[in-house]
């Protein structure tokens, strides 16, 4: 018999003695009796004198009653020690069960018939594991997918743990084993006999399997040597920092899964052509992870419209790359690739999650552009090249006479003109050679024959643009104020030639020099360069928030920072998932954090304080993980070269908890005492 009580034995003895003393004290203290007046107590005395002949029996009955109470007390205290009948042949262990709930656990190979998922099989095995725990073992269930989520505290309560296991659902993300092992190791720190049991199909990337250290970690920071010249930094590898310290922890592996045949889409993306943004191309990768040749129908949809359907035959292990070039634009920007089963051998598999993939065409908006210029063929010619705009032109005099001409415009270009009244926000503004006090950027001075010596290559306007050999006979220079969000994107040595800024929801760009035109003294050869139309396109794209290299398709299980164009002041965005659930995500520096746990389309919306949407972006999430699509179960798992054993130590030990029987016995005694007291047997 063993005792698994929650208190140290010494403290328990003190409590037992105290409780016994209280019980005895309660018997010593006389009960306050109801008073009753009698006319002639002499008669009672006579009767009681006769009765006192039985005083010994009376005392004995009282003693028996006391002993009975002490017995009940002893039984209750004994039950508190949690006595367990049966051999406990090992020490109590602290167990963290890492329950793999990644995408591959959705494979329907939990049984031969294929009616149960791999996750269901894992649940059964885990519950059997929990049921076989000894009396002193405590276990914590931790769900492992793209994150590591503790689902319970350390508990020895089997039914509670089983309920927790039943409530686990698989996600659409790859498993992050390193994160889970780190969390488990942290949870087990300073606990006796730590044990980690990984219940999984073993679908982990090789890189994660190596990020484990079985030895105690080396010092986390290089220590300077006594002579001050050398240090042990050389002994300290980057890998050691990321490695999970599993020293002194027993790690076991419980494999689940049966089948390995699977064909899945491992990559799916789409992009617009830079030159022709109306057209786009699609890239799909499909891989056969099985051991047999597979056949599928690969279908590509734009919205509900099938763009292409073709049959593909894939050899075992083969990865097919499909590119769909020059696809014409359409109203729907949602693309979907689907692998359809075909009849016959190798026509289907048990893992459906990677048979579909989703992608989004970057949003494209037609802008209204107003040119405030006297006739300037260079500007007008370049603007007309861009097919996604709706241009208009007024003279500076017309604009000054009626600034409301700019109302409803997305962009206004001021060519050699600096108006007193600027169009209202959110209209974006492009200036060529602004002057005077009304210049959007403070004018510092003027340079003769400046050369552009440096550009901000990271700025969207300067993407794919070279300006190093551009000639200008003169140019105004700006004094941008970084505190106002103003920045220089092209320098002549240290002078700002081209400046840009965000002004609330609109953007402003200013060139310090003039474009050549009839009647102008200054001259530049920029309009004759390839860079000029590119500059205008980039500028209009930047104004529209259309980033050509913006990614809208992400893998599930990874945390990404997605730019939200024009977001000012908002700190939180709403993310509407594929299943309609809405979650909140923080916005930091204009970027929202995105974590896709399900495959499908997401809608990220930033709102201002009044709840009005100020920015919105659509995203798609796909499994896109060859490691997860490779559902072949690993019967063995090695971490950093160490093969993990099956948790054979969980052989079922038959032990019986006695506390419930003891409490029942104590209750029976209490009832007996109560009955005998009230039937005047023991009084």
């Amino acid at each position: 018999m063993s005792f698994l009580g929650p208190l140290p034995f010494g403290i328990f003895i003190y409590i037992a003695l105290g409780a016994a003393a209280l019980a005895v004290g309660a018997y010593i203290i006389k009960m306050r009796r109801r008073r009753f007046e009698v006319p002639f107590s002499h008669l009672w005395k006579r009767v009681l004198e006769q009765k006192d002949a039985n005083a010994l029996w009376k005392q004995l009955k009282r003693l028996i009653s006391l002993l009975l109470i002490l017995l009940i007390l002893a039984i209750v205290l004994f039950a508190a020690l949690d006595p367990t009948l049966g051999a406990v042949d090992r020490k109590a262990r602290s167990v963290v069960v890492l329950f793999d709930a990644s995408a591959s656990m959705k494979a329907m190979d939990g049984n031969e018939a294929g009616s149960k998922s791999r996750l269901d099989a894992a649940k059964e095995r885990t519950k059997a594991l929990v049921d076989s725990m000894g009396g002193g073992d405590v276990a914590m269930i931790m769900k492992v997918d793209g994150q590591a989520t503790p689902m319970s505290r350390f508990s020895s309560d089997g039914p509670v743990l089983n309920k927790v296991i039943d409530g686990i659902a698989a996600s659409d993300t790859p498993a992050d084993l390193t994160r889970a092992l780190g969390a488990a190791a942290d949870a087990l720190r300073d606990r006796p006999n730590p044990l980690i049991v990984i219940v999984s199909d073993g679908a982990f990337p090789e890189a994660q399997l190596g990020l484990v250290s079985w030895d105690e970690k080396k010092p986390l920071a290089p220590q300077p040597a006594p002579d001050g010249k050398t240090s042990n930094a050389a002994n300290w590898e980057k890998k050691d920092l990321a490695a999970v310290d599993l020293s002194k922890i027993d790690v076991r592996y419980l494999p689940v899964g049966r089948r390995s045949d699977n064909v899945g889409i491992v990559a799916f993306n789409v992009r617009r052509y830079i030159a022709n943004k109306a057209a786009y191309e699609v890239y799909i990768e499909v891989q056969n992870f099985g051991q047999e040749p597979a056949h599928r129908q690969l279908a590509l949809y734009n919205g509900d419209t099938a763009v292409d359907i073709k049959k593909i035959d894939i050899a075992p292990g083969q990865r097919i790359k499909q590119i769909y070039p020059k696809l014409p634009g359409s109203l729907d920007n949602k693309l979907r690739a689907s692998l359809r089963p075909v009849e016959g051998a190798g026509g289907s598999d048990s893992f459906a999650l990677d048979d579909q993939a989703f992608a989004l065409l970057p949003a494209r908006k037609k802008q209204k552009v107003l040119m405030v210029t006297t006739d300037n063929l260079f500007l007008e010619g370049a603007i007309l090249v861009y097919d996604n705009i709706d241009p208009a032109k007024v003279s500076p005099a017309e604009y000054d006479a009626k600034p409301s001409l700019a109302d409803g415009m997305d962009v206004v270009i001021f060519d050699e003109h600096t108006p007193a009244v600027l169009p209202p926000s959110p209209t974006s503004l492009l200036f060529f050679h602004p002057t005077g006090e009304n210049s959007p950027f403070a004018i510092r001075g003027e340079l003769a024959n400046p050369r552009i010596t440096e550009i901000d290559e990271g700025h969207p306007v300067m993407r794919w643009v070279t300006m190093s050999d551009i000639y200008m006979d003169k140019s105004g220079t700006f004094a941008p104020d970084p505190k106002k969000g103003e920045s220089t994107i092209a320098y002549s040595v240290r002078d700002s030639i081209i400046a840009a800024k965000r002004d609330g929801r609109r953007k402003i760009l200013a060139f310090g020099f003039s474009l050549p035109a009839a009647g102008r003294e200054s001259a530049t050869d920029l309009p004759m360069r390839v860079a000029f139309p590119m500059l205008l396109v980039n500028t209009l794209d930047w104004f529209a928030g259309d980033q050509t290299d913006l990614l809208t398709t992400y893998p599930t299980g990874s945390r990404e920072r997605v730019p939200l164009d024009g977001v000012v002041g908002a700190t939180e965005a709403e993310v509407k998932g594929p299943d309609g659930t809405i979650t909140k995500t923080p916005i930091i520096d204009g970027r929202a954090t995105f974590y896709g746990s399900r495959v499908g389309y997401y809608d990220v919306t930033a709102k201002d304080g009044k709840g009005t949407p100020i920015a919105q972006i659509e995203l798609a999430a796909n499994l896109a993980s060859p490691a997860e699509s490779d559902i072949a179960p690993s019967t063995e798992l090695s971490l950093a070269g160490k093969k993990l054993e099956a948790p054979e130590a969980f052989a079922i030990t038959r032990s019986k908890k006695l506390w419930i029987y003891l409490i029942l016995f104590a209750m029976a005694l209490i009832v007996m005492e109560w009955v005998t007291y009230h039937r005047r047997i023991t009084v």
């Binding site: 009698v38 107590s41 009765k51 009084v683």
Partner: protein, 317 residues
């Protein structure tokens, strides 16, 4: 049993409640009571018709008119009572003796101790006073001299012997106003009684006879001093068969003695038997010495008891 000093306050409190109950005697002798007395008187006259009024002969030889006996003349005797006819025939000087006729003295001794204050719905004391008043009325109506003497651990007061029905209202007033309370000490009280009352007569003792020292000595004192004890025991039914259960502290209402008892059914049975035995002990004692004895509980109407007394004889002759 030891006095429980801790229970003194409680005892005083309950005594105060008890006293307030028995102290209210305003309704004790109402018109209905008077009618009952008159009825009793009529019944007594009917039952004992033929008896002479105020003709209760005593054995005392005195100045009556009815011849009783002769005795030898002694020096100093009144010559007028010498029977000269017998002297002529027998040549002996014999004196003629006559029975002396005198009024019978009836002493109604009412126990007013604390134990008499117990009883429900009528305290024993009230019952005893009603019985005492009824007997007094009948005695007064029969032209006997009736005195009322309340007692507990001493003779508390005394209504001197008086005669005639019209005295009954003084009796009522006296009973309503007399002091109450104290322990029952029969022996001491009877000793004082016989010392204070030289005229012998009928001593009707109305009490519960709950005297820890025993009832014998008190009754014997009356007997030894030529009084005719007439014993009336009054008790309450709940005293004989108390309805008690569980753990109790029994407090003696007279002494304050406390005894902790766990009352069980068997103990109650034993007590009932002990009470009955005590009463029978008293009855046996009275029977042994040819003393009239009546035992009654407060549930029996007092007039029934009085009639029973009349029928049995001893009170009315």
């Amino acid at each position: 049993m030891e006095p429980a000093s801790a229970s003194l306050t409680q005892l005083k409190k309950s005594a105060a409640v008890r006293e307030s109950r028995v102290a209210d005697r305003s309704e004790l002798f109402d018109d209905r009571f008077l009618k009952t007395l008159e009825h009793l008187h009529m019944v007594s006259r009917k039952v004992f018709a033929g008896n002479l009024r105020a003709e209760r002969r005593t054995r005392k030889v005195g100045s009556g008119i009815e011849f009783a006996d002769h005795r030898t003349y002694a020096r100093g005797d009144d010559f007028r009572y010498i029977d000269w006819n017998l002297y002529g025939r027998l040549d002996k000087l014999l004196l003629r003796l006559f029975e002396e006729e005198e009024d019978l003295h009836i002493y109604i001794l009412v126990d007013v101790s604390d134990s008499m204050a117990i009883g429900s719905p009528l305290p024993k004391l009230h019952y005893a006073m009603q019985v005492g008043a009824a007997l007094t009325y009948v005695g007064l109506a029969n032209l006997d001299r009736v005195a009322i003497i309340p007692f507990s651990d001493r003779i508390i007061d005394r209504l001197p012997p008086s005669r005639g029905k019209n005295r009954i209202f003084r009796v009522f007033d006296f009973l309503k106003k007399c002091d109450l309370g104290g322990k029952t000490e029969l022996a001491e009280c009877m000793k004082d009684f016989v010392t204070q009352n030289k005229r012998r007569g009928l001593a009707v003792v109305i009490s519960d006879f709950y005297d820890p020292q025993g009832f014998e000595q008190g009754i014997n004192t009356l007997r030894y001093n030529k009084f005719e004890p007439f014993v009336l025991q009054v008790y309450d039914k709940r005293e004989a068969e108390p309805n008690l259960h569980g753990d109790l502290a029994l407090v003696d209402c007279e002494t304050g003695d406390t005894r902790e008892v766990t009352v069980s059914k068997s103990l109650l049975e034993q007590y009932t038997k002990a009470h009955e035995a005590y009463c029978q002990e008293l009855e046996a004692y009275c029977t042994k010495y040819a003393m009239p004895f009546f035992r009654t509980h407060t549930s029996i109407p007092f007039d029934e008891l009085v009639l029973k007394i009349f029928r049995s004889g001893g009170f009315l002759r």
